[in-house]
Amino acid sequence: MLAAGGCRASVASSLEGEIVGAGHRLGHLLREPGRLPPPSGAERVAVAIVGGGVAGLSAAWQLARAGVRDLVVLELEDTPGGNARSSVSAVTGYPWGAHYLPLPGQAAHGVRTLLREVGVIEGVDRAGRPVYDERHLCHAPQERLFLLGRWHEGLFPAPGAGAEDRAQLERFRQEMDGYRRWRDGAGRRAFAVPRAAGAPGAFAELDRVSMADFLTARGYTSPRLRWWVEYGCRDDFGSDLAHTSAWAGVHYHAARDADPEYGDVVLTWPEGNGWLTRRLAEPVADRVRLGQLVVNVEPVAGGVAVDAYDARAERTRRIVAREVVLACPVFVAARLYRPWRERPPAFAAAFRYAPWLVANLHLDRAPTGAGGAPLAWDNVLYDSPALGYVVATHQSLRSHPGPTVLTYYRSYPGPDPAATRRALLDASWATLRDGVLRDLARPHPELAREVRRLDVMRYGHAMVRPEVGFVCGAARAAAAAALSGPVHLAHGDLSGFSLFEEAFEWGTRTAARICARLPRLT
């Protein structure tokens, strides 16, 4: 009678699920284009956009607004959106990637225009600041942290923190405030969103050290502070402190101001940023072609040829466009664009990518378990290799909680993304499922028995890594300047880190450039 044990969670044998996303399977065909059927046909369009992610759809949205309707978007997946795509089930829409957008600052006027057009911004107040439709603002409570067996409000691991932890946090905040307030002679910030709105070259020296070294050099030794800063890097960049450039690390904290009315709240939707990509795609819905793997882009007489392999029809079709936007990751563009295929550009090797795993769990009701702060939108785990989960039904207006979907996120930081990528892409559904359930069993011991369905998405190349020397380095600048028409490169990668606003900026800016080059079409 000395024993007092707990029981081990077991997975319901009926648990269903699968690995979703065709990306990397089809993408591998790019490596052996010789095995694909030769292109046929020669459809003509004014603009062909390769990739239907945020950058590609923003370009199309902007072109459509400018009156250019003769365009196609070629997307290899069966749903548009790229890393901001989503699904919908009988329960709710839910994200597969990007899930929120911070309130855009003044510099992000393009994003503000978009939000105004789709009704997220309802108008401006007397001070000229945007007024939001609060249904799109993340409902309270926004976030909580699982630490020491309980949930706590907020993300900073405050419980158990000592005076030294708090002092360092305060000092760190003040230092970041300094970077936030910095302006150059023209009134530009050092760290801006979109990045292009910032003062060129400001604090470029920070790009020569890692965020880990930056913190150490300034005496930020508190494990809690470092966890919190690293959490930000893992979440936004998919990299750890040692592999994040201090410039990017500071950008995370210094590029945005808390809104005087709304504070640090974010915009979010059940399907995450999939809601935004759907709005972007609406004006060009009939121009988006899905399941199209673009395998070759090359200048030909009378324009640029774009060859797309349609896996379902098992055919390769050629489109000849006057202008082409490569709205796909830089490592893909380097394989598609024939001149680059033949003479690989020097910048290509500098673009290194973090793998990610996203799992969506269907449940009959919100998870129970450890006490403390109530279920929030973003639920972060302190002692976990993953980031935690967001709740798709959080934005629902229902007053009685019912079935829900949890979206579990894990980035794979660390020194060797290639090795992790291989392991991740080789893993079976059952292995990935067990990993997810094991991690979530700590806050929610019952969860494994309550999950109805668990689907996973593996991203081999989810995010470009803002490594030391890359963010302000020559390779990135060279890639951004490499093409100026009739072929254009437009992808979030070019900013050096992955954010909706950056991808949107590259897409809309490229669209404006095309409009200037094609005056007769507009």
Binding site: M1, A4, D133, E134, L137, H139, A140, G369, S399
Partner: protein, 499 residues
Amino acid sequence: MSAIYVSVVVVATAGLVYELVAAAAASYLLGDSITQFSTVIGAYLFAMGVGSFLSRYVRRGVAARFVEVEIAVGLVGGWTTTVLFVAFAQTPHFRVVLYGLVGVVGVLVGLEIPLLLRLLRGRLAFSELVAQVLSLDYAGALLASLLFPLLLVPRLGLIRTSLLVGLANVAVGLWSTWIFRRELATAGYLRGLAVAALVCLGGGALAAERITTWSEERLYADEIILARTSAYQRIVLTRWTDDLRLFLNGHLQFSSRDEYRYHEALVHPAVAAHAAPRRVLVLGGGDGLAVREIVKYPAVQSVTLVDLDPEMTRLFSHNPVLIAVNGGALRDPRVRVVNADAFVWLGQTREAFDVVIVDFPDPHNFSLGKLYSRSFYRLLRARLAPGGLVSVQATSPMFARRSFWCIVETLRSAGLAARPYHVYVPSFGEWGFVLAGLEPPAAPRAYPDGLRFLTTEATPALFVFPPDMAAVPVEVNRLDNQILVQYYGAEWQRIFPSL
């Protein structure tokens, strides 16, 4: 010897079951099962250690002490769950009772094995004795941990389980008076004691059903005449002489003695202030009491009642006791019942209404808090026909002053002209409402005949707030801040710290 071994298994099984029963009852009543299980198990194991230590002070009459311990464990352990359920309803010091009982049972259980080992010392070689007794002790623990979730709780429930295990302990005590008869001088007395304990526990086990309802009744003070668990809530109706009370999830919704004050105040200032209240919408209020007041107006052509829970509206349309309360209002031909989530329904309907009565439960949690948000009131405003008026139940301006004024301010921030008022409802205390409209609401013209509380002469006084309920500065309740839930939690927590 084998009789003794059987006793060891029974004693061990019972010991673990007490611990599980206490932890399960605490989780059931307090929630947060991880905390309850770990603190109860920890306290219990520690108390067992204390018991084992105390066994050294038993010098003489070990056999008699062992029998007494068995009877005491059986009685205290057996009644633990019952006491816990009753204590939860009766005292604010539930945790003191919980850990007190866990401690007592733990100490007694901790005495058992050391005493038994000493009793058996002469009968076996020491090494064999320890091996036998301890291995059976652990086997008993395994048996308990399997029986408890698989058989005992599902078949018998918590109260019967602990009474039954108590019976087993006393039975071991009784049996021991024979096994150790040579060591016992007072066997007769002990047997009498054991039989009395058996009767006490057995009677309890037979009456367990009654005890469960009785303990819930204590929670509700009066006799329960109806209890249902719908998909959305626990509906409990109690009666004490002529007072009928409805509780949803344990929160009082109305008392038939004075609900007329609440419902007259909720409905009439808005309906009577409208020149032509033809289309009326009621959100929440599935009890039909607000509808009962509305159908008193011949001008009303349609009443749409939107309530989430079909079980509620069904009960209040068909149950004779409840129909007597709402006058069969839900069966009035002008009334249409829609079972839907109010926020979602409001966002989808295209209809316009002259008067809207909003009667939701208080903003206890984030889900309910949404129904008091600026977004919600803006949707509501969009559904008002020209000249439309709204009446909102707005918790107590006395006990939850900031909450009340937060609701007023939030209505105003949604572009409605709001006029707060309050009435005294004895079973609730001072209660608040807000009359609001696209235009500043007029004073009510004439009330229908037969009201028991409101008169046109007394109405203006309701809109006057004495200093202890007067407006305080508050923020607007938005979906992204849910400030009202925070105000409400803090204010009621001050008044009822046990909530």
